[in-house]
């Protein structure tokens, strides 16, 4: 199964503008909706707090990987154990599986092509599924219900 997500977006502004919007921590924070403590530095942990209404308790933690001006920006980030508020809040790289997020920049005739890929989901597969079963009910729970129903009907 496909282990990556890819998004492409054409922006009608120069590459320098897109690079700044993505890699300047304040600008990134504006559209991503996170209040970051400081600039992105390769090899360093970026910390912050999500500012999206209702999710202000959620921590942001990523490790910046590469910053090649106007070419590539990447970081790894953890995926929460579940979509529960409590689990989202403790997103730390040490204990959670991570994926790699890459932003690549390309000059086009009309502006900039920004390609975002997120990969490494196979690392989080089983872990994630467990979380879904546990927290979201999922269809395993439905099967159990069906099983109970069938047992009762028999």
């Amino acid at each position: 199964m496909n282990d990556r997500i890819e998004k492409r977006i054409e922006l009608k502004v120069p590459i320098s503008r897109v690079w700044r919007a993505v890699t300047d921590y304040r600008e990134f924070g504006e559209w991503f909706r996170v209040k970051l403590e400081g600039p992105f530095v390769p090899g360093q942990v970026s910390r912050g707090q999500i500012t999206y209404p209702g999710y202000e308790h959620v921590k942001w933690e990523a490790v910046v990987q590469k910053m090649e001006p106007e070419r590539l920006f990447s970081f790894t980030w953890p995926h929460p154990k579940s979509l529960d508020k409590a689990d989202y809040a403790k997103g730390d790289q040490a204990t959670l599986p991570t994926t790699l997020v890459e932003f690549s920049f390309e000059k086009t005739a009309t502006g900039t092509l920004l390609v975002i890929t997120e990969s490494g989901f196979d690392n989080i597969g089983d872990f994630r599924l467990e979380a879904f079963r546990r927290n979201e009910g999922g269809w395993t729970e439905q099967i159990k219900n069906i099983e109970r129903y069938v047992a009762k009907a028999a």
């Binding site: 199964m1 496909n2 997500i5 998004k7 977006i9 922006l11 009608k12 502004v13 503008r17 897109v18 919007a21 993505v22 600008e27 504006e30 559209w31 991503f32 909706r33 999500i50 999206y52 209404p53 209702g54 999710y55 959620v58 995926h79 979509l83 989202y88 920004l114 975002i116 997120e118 989901f121 597969g125 089983d126 994630r128 599924l129 879904f132 079963r133 979201e136 999922g138 269809w139 395993t140 439905q142 099967i143 159990k144 069906i146 099983e147 069938v150 047992a151």
Partner: protein
């Protein structure tokens, strides 16, 4: 962002439609109930006590296999059918969820950058 995706997850019935469609049949529900105990069963074992033929049971098992609810494993000459609690549908759904988050984030980036 997150809120929106939560509600999309709440609508999980949609993404699980094939799984539930596969379960929309009494015989298949009974087969799943039998297999969900964890013990792999052969077609003969599953046919025993059923009014259905071996061929009919096999057909139902293939439907369940098609949506990842059961897997067949070979044991000698026989195929054993095993309940699979980790259907790809679950993972697919998570990827869709993350993918949708990116769509929203990029839409915000676009309006931020082009305003």
């Amino acid at each position: 962002m997150l809120q929106k995706q939560r509600s999309s997850l709440a609508a999980r019935g949609k993404t699980h439609a094939p799984v539930f469609a596969a379960l929309g049949d009494e015989t298949r529900i009974a087969l799943v109930a039998r297999l969900s105990g964890g013990q792999p069963c052969s077609i003969s074992q599953l046919t025993k006590g059923s009014k259905l033929t071996r061929q009919a049971i096999t057909k139902h098992l293939r439907v369940l296999e098609g949506v990842g609810i059961v897997h067949s494993v070979h044991a000698g000459r026989e195929s054993l059918f095993k309940f699979d609690p980790t259907p790809i549908a679950e993972m697919r759904e998570y990827l869709d969820f993350v993918s949708e988050q990116w769509d929203h984030a990029l839409a915000r980036l676009q309006s931020f950058i082009q305003e």
